[in-house]
Symmetry: C2
Subunit: 196 residues, 2 copies
DNA sequence: GGAATGACAGATATTGAAATCTGTCAGCTG
DNA sequence: CAGCTGACAGATTTCAATATCTGTCATTCC
């Protein structure tokens, strides 16, 4: 069966919305555009998403969830060596963000705008990420290599202290020469702070 | 002699510009407004500042230099106890920013916009601040309480890691409950990382 | 009958003409 | 004559009319 005559699902709408956002950018992407891309009336889109904001949020969530998945793997087998685990996880977060920002700056800017609109969704994303970090820190405490009062607090501190290397607002700094060294310096200091 | 008939100096122009910015905001503050406030033609303003951008930069520099001064005192007598010095200096930086952002949010937003335009000036300001931090860290190394390879690198790492608590882009987070504790958690981790 | 449509009201965005601003400079003024 | 003025060209901003969009819903279509 041809794709264009398939049932209209939330999934297909989300894909079309991503495409429209990619093409038009966040300011000019309208739900009429999305409907046009799907060959339906915009009323049909509103059957699946109550508002334009809800549609954008759903797209943002998909995007962020994909990013979360990429890191979950590293978090999973970081238990063996917690110190290397923390370093690798933070480095992977930085590398992933930098790759996206550098590889397709316009798309990255688009999603940065969307993320700015979707406070709730972003909070959840950050909670997931700090959750992954918390698990690594906790493993380190249990293994006796880290000495922190509360792994949750420490993980949040790690995440916030490295904000310059993953917060999209700093994206333009990530191409400057020397960032890599700056990142290492911050992580060194933090990891030393975690140790017994 | 009445103020309005005094010689037109760069200083008087800067004061008038601050006032115009305070009143109209960064988007609507024009050179013509500044000239009007001073009772002169806008051509006279251009005698002292080559461009509108140069005028704004000069105002920004004044503002940032005042902030630098506030912290210089703390940096000066932080030599006695370097660890407390680092904590106090970072806390003072955070407190000063938070006070300004909370006390007059519109003015703070205005200067944030100006700072965003004046890359050069801001770089200099940051260099001054990390210079102050470097002095404290170096004192700690010499006193034998800190163990870091390079005080300059460590100071930059401290500054960048605490960005969330002084970068104007995060200003809206500074009023949330719990920030104080988050700040302490980050600083604790960093200071532990500095120790021998 | 469940899904899709398209016309509609109010909100938002676009457009182009008019107003204002930036930066320059020849000339005025004290 | 050093400092200031005001008229000017080109760039930018404002404003109001026009077009488009968002969100709803009575109606149509399998």
């Amino acid at each position: 069966m041809p794709a264009t005559s398939e049932t209209l699902t939330a999934e297909r709408i989300l894909e079309a919305t991503e495409e429209v956002l990619r093409r038009h950018g966040p300011a000019k992407a309208t739900v009429v555009d999305v409907a046009r891309a799907l060959g339906v009336s915009h009323g049909s889109v509103y059957r699946h998403f109550r508002t334009k904001a809800a549609l954008r949020e759903a797209v943002t969530k998909r995007w962020l969830d994909r990013a979360t998945q990429e890191l979950a793997g590293i978090a999973a087998d970081a238990g063996r060596d917690p110190e290397a685990g923390v370093r690798e996880w933070l480095a992977a977060l930085f590398a992933a963000k930098r790759l996206k920002a550098g590889g397709d700056p316009e798309l990255f800017a688009t999603y940065s705008v969307l993320a700015g609109e979707a406070g709730e969704v972003v909070s959840g994303h950050i909670a997931e990420l700090t959750g992954q970090l918390t698990a690594i820190v906790r493993a380190g405490v249990e293994a006796g290599v880290f000495a922190v009062a509360d792994p949750v607090t420490a993980a949040r501190a790690l995440f916030q202290a490295t904000g310059r290397f993953h917060d999209p607002g700093y994206a333009k700094e990530w191409e400057r020469p020397g960032v890599e060294a700056e990142f290492e310096a911050v992580v060194d200091l933090l990891v030393r702070g975690l140790r017994r």
